[in-house]
């Protein structure tokens, strides 16, 4: 009987701790969002962060888009050609990329490359007392360090996702038409007839904005809250990637159901 009570007690404590942690992260988010004013007044900080978060992630996004586009096209071709429907390859490639793969894979790659870097950087600044020294110099580290990074992430991921979509579709075209011989005309005309700008492309971009918000929020929060030891920073970095991945996949299901399946 004791064991059951203990179990209930620890589950309850776990839930309460979880809620408290979530509440803390929300309060944190609000202070970060209030830093928008400071970020606008000092665009140089934002630009530097867009460089380190966006520009430096370009390579991995670009090459992943090429490979993903090629694979989807190749796989789609092998399946469709048996059914006699290879003309719809263009539609298959573009819809899978625009609706799902570009937003989701782009966000996962971003969380792994840029999100983890943000967590590690902020966590390390905490561990080496740089954040505390800034507070003592009467500079709010949330406004000076965290906010520029948050808004940079919020801007960079949708940009990278759009590039992912374009590069992926074009790579799919190269494999489908140049290599596998699907008629280029029907490849593109199928796409242009059936892919809707507002419904498919804009919704895909909205997905990436939601992901950008969540992934960057998780990354900066984990870094800011890390234990100031090397083990603490490493654990925070891992958590940042894992939680981001779960959030992306979970939100993707919800967004897809709302946008595309009703």
């Amino acid at each position: 009987m004791n064991g059951v009570i203990n179990f209930m007690q620890s589950t309850g404590a776990f839930i309460i701790d979880g809620l408290a942690g979530f509440g803390r992260s929300v309060t944190f988010l609000i202070s970060v969002l209030l830093g928008l004013k400071d970020v606008i007044l000092r665009p140089r900080l934002l630009i530097n962060q867009i460089y380190s978060v966006g520009v430096l992630s370009f390579t991995i996004i670009f090459f992943s888009a090429i490979f993903v586009g090629m694979v989807v096209s190749l796989l789609g071709y092998t399946i469709l050609v048996d059914l006699g429907g290879k003309e719809v390859l263009g539609l298959l490639v573009s819809l899978t990329l625009v609706r799902e793969l570009a937003p989701v894979l782009g966000a996962l790659l971003f969380a792994g490359r840029a999100g983890s870097a943000l967590t590690a950087e902020i966590g390390l600044m905490k561990a080496t007392e740089q954040l505390a020294s800034m507070e003592m110099m009467a500079v709010d580290p949330i406004r000076r360090i965290v906010a520029p990074r948050f808004f940079a992430g919020l801007i960079s991921l949708p940009i990278l996702t759009v590039i992912f979509m374009a590069v992926g579709v074009y790579s799919g075209y190269l494999v489908g038409s140049e290599w596998k011989g699907v008629d280029a005309g029907s490849f593109w005309s199928q796409i242009q007839n059936k892919v809707e700008f507002r419904y498919d492309i804009i919704n895909g971009i909205i997905k990436s904005i939601v992901f950008a918000f969540v992934v960057t929020w998780i990354a900066v929060y984990q870094g800011y809250n890390a234990m100031p030891t090397s083990e603490g920073v490493s654990r925070a970095t891992t958590n940042s990637v894992v939680y981001s991945a779960l959030a992306i996949l979970g939100l993707d299901f919800v967004l897809t159901a709302v946008m595309f399946a009703s």
Binding site: M125, E129, A132, S133, E135, A138, D140, R144
Partner: protein
Amino acid sequence: MSNSLVKIRDVHFSWDGKRDIYSGVDLDIPEGKITAIMGPSGTGKTTMLRLIGGQLKPTQGSVQVSGEEIPKLNRKALYLARRRMGMLFQSGALLTDLSVFENIAFPIREHYDFSETMIRDIVLMKLELVGLRGARDLMPSELSGGMARRIALARAIVLDPLLMMYDEPFTGLDPVTLGTIVSLIKELNSALGLTSVIVSHDIGETFSIADHVCILSEGKIVAAGSPEELKNSDSAFVQQFVNGHPDGPMPFHYPADEYTQDLLKGDKS
């Protein structure tokens, strides 16, 4: 006895509500003098600096700096108060992505709108005080530990604070750098009319420059006075601490069972 810049009265503090770090501490930091806060490891000496700087709030009691009640200040007022304080962290805590020059210029740029020439003058003057004017373009990763700490010192005094706080400034330095830091702390205190608070457990160096020493133990001040008074104190605890005896009121052995019994238990296997 000169005026006290910092008055700490009946301060209680605890991290988790269970174990008290401070259980009623009264402390005065006289203006214009060098005060040392010392004590065994883990008594929470750095926590005292955090309370003075408003990074932590006491669970009970008052912390007054220049007549202002620090724990009661709102964010804006607290940040204004902090401009009159400088803190030297144990690790230096320089911002790693800025050069030495930019690190020292950081507080100026954040708070004031001075021209570049004026900023340059101020930064170079502070660098000259610590003897590192030639290092202005280096990055923190290129500095030795001692140099980093001197740069951090220059940064801490760049806005001409009233109060300087040093968190373990003597730890981990070679003899020459150690001597440099010690003399810098003393010279800056008199040349700039500062009030300095040093947190340390290094008796030799601290006693050589401190005007007033407080010893913390078990959440209270157990002794206070000038270095001479403490050296001649008849408290066994103070004598053990000041002279570095391994055993005394602070026991050498961590609590354990009786020795022969413990050894013999291993035989019954």
